[in-house]
Symmetry: C2
Subunit: 235 residues, 2 copies
């Protein structure tokens, strides 16, 4: 599958400016509401640079925007220096970013990744791939935080996926209700759920077992496919 | 706030046909990707009937579509005859409807309500109101099911809101990953969470208390505003 010719990594690159402007459009109105003329105007890049950097067009710009946001959130979930975030802190990282977008805009902007995802179709293979990468990387990063915090390995990915889905879905509830309350409540519920998962590990049922052994089987939740993927965090 | 002049309740009404077609467009590409020409063509209604039934235009059509779907899901969550659904069954009702839309379309269609919600803005006050109504009614209906299944009153609304957010967010993950696995996993996690909420009520902590007394305070989750709204179910 083709990738954008120029990865918008350089801080001053027109490609990056276009991707940032596209992320704003995705937050406001989703993929199909994003007008390329407006995106280019907002980016300050000359119109020609759009086709130079993104010869595949809108789908490639959507992918670059989603990738930029996806990587940013994934980095925020990784430990800074030697300080690894706890599970509640990691949930807070995502909830805070989403809340900032929502509140700063008076609830007229949400998350660019789920905004793009709700309009995916045959015409958006690159954006779809970038959305899958972002959701996968967030799930892996959050699962790694959960595991390091003491959640059983077999429970970490399902809980992480539930967390990502709930936080992204809460964006829709917040926009509809013009209130940050659903996001606050969902984050609090996920935090309580996580505390419960910790408690169950800290206080295992009657039969004695080594607390340091990696968990193997959990009856309620099979290990998901993405559990086999390695998180990108170097630890 | 103005309402559509004609509520699309009658099965044969052009207004209803237009709302159904709009719901399909919202599922595929969200509010801003919905083209009214395509919606009218798909509905089979004459172009003039669009402006007759929806003088407020696209926003009113979006509201009618969201309301139609919202009411349908709310009804499915209410007991049929004397048989009330259990908590897992109610989660399954929503997950099954979302899964049907996803799988029938090869993951190119999601939920019209969250699809609309991710594009809400100053130009969509009627659609926003309809989205808020749908999310609120689903939360209330699910919370009622949870309470009747034995979840403490103070826990029912937060758990219901988490459930709605997670199931709607899972739509985005499924579309991005072109897989029903996130929806399946999120529904399973919510079911396990619900079983845990039942178990905690069935086996309260040390101090004796009447199991039939309505619960009052829960330290981890404050009662949400919508807890004060009465569910529409007549019981």
């Amino acid at each position: 599958m083709p990738r954008p010719r120029t990865a918008p990594d350089h801080p001053d690159s027109p490609a990056r400016a276009i991707a940032i402007a596209m992320a704003g459009a995705l937050r406001r109105r989703g993929y199909h509401g994003a007008a390329l003329n407006d995106v280019v105007a907002e980016s300050g890049a000359p119109r020609g640079s759009l086709y130079h950097h993104f010869p595949e067009g809108k789908d490639a710009i959507g992918a670059a925007a989603v990738r930029l946001v996806g990587v940013g959130v994934t980095r925020a979930l990784a430990p800074r220096g030697s300080v690894a975030p706890g599970g509640r802190e990691a949930i807070g990282v995502i909830a805070s970013q989403l809340s900032e977008w929502l509140q700063r805009s008076g609830f007229d902007e949400g998350c660019p990744v789920v905004g793009a995802a709700m309009g995916l179709g045959p015409e958006t293979p690159l954006t779809r791939e970038a959305c899958a990468e972002a959701f996968g990387a967030w799930t892996d990063a959050l699962a790694a935080v959960y595991r390091e915090g003491g959640v059983e390995a077999s429970r970490a990915v399902p809980l992480a996926r539930l967390s990502i889905a709930a936080l992204e879905g809460a964006v829709g509830l917040c926009r509809a209700q013009r209130s940050i309350e659903p996001m606050r409540q969902v984050a609090a519920e996920l935090g309580a759920l996580l505390d419960g998962a910790h408690a169950r590990r800290a206080a295992p049922p009657a039969s004695p077992s080594s607390p340091s052994s990696p968990s193997s089987t959990a009856p309620t939740a099979p290990t998901a496919p993405s559990a086999a993927r390695r998180p990108r965090r170097a630890r």
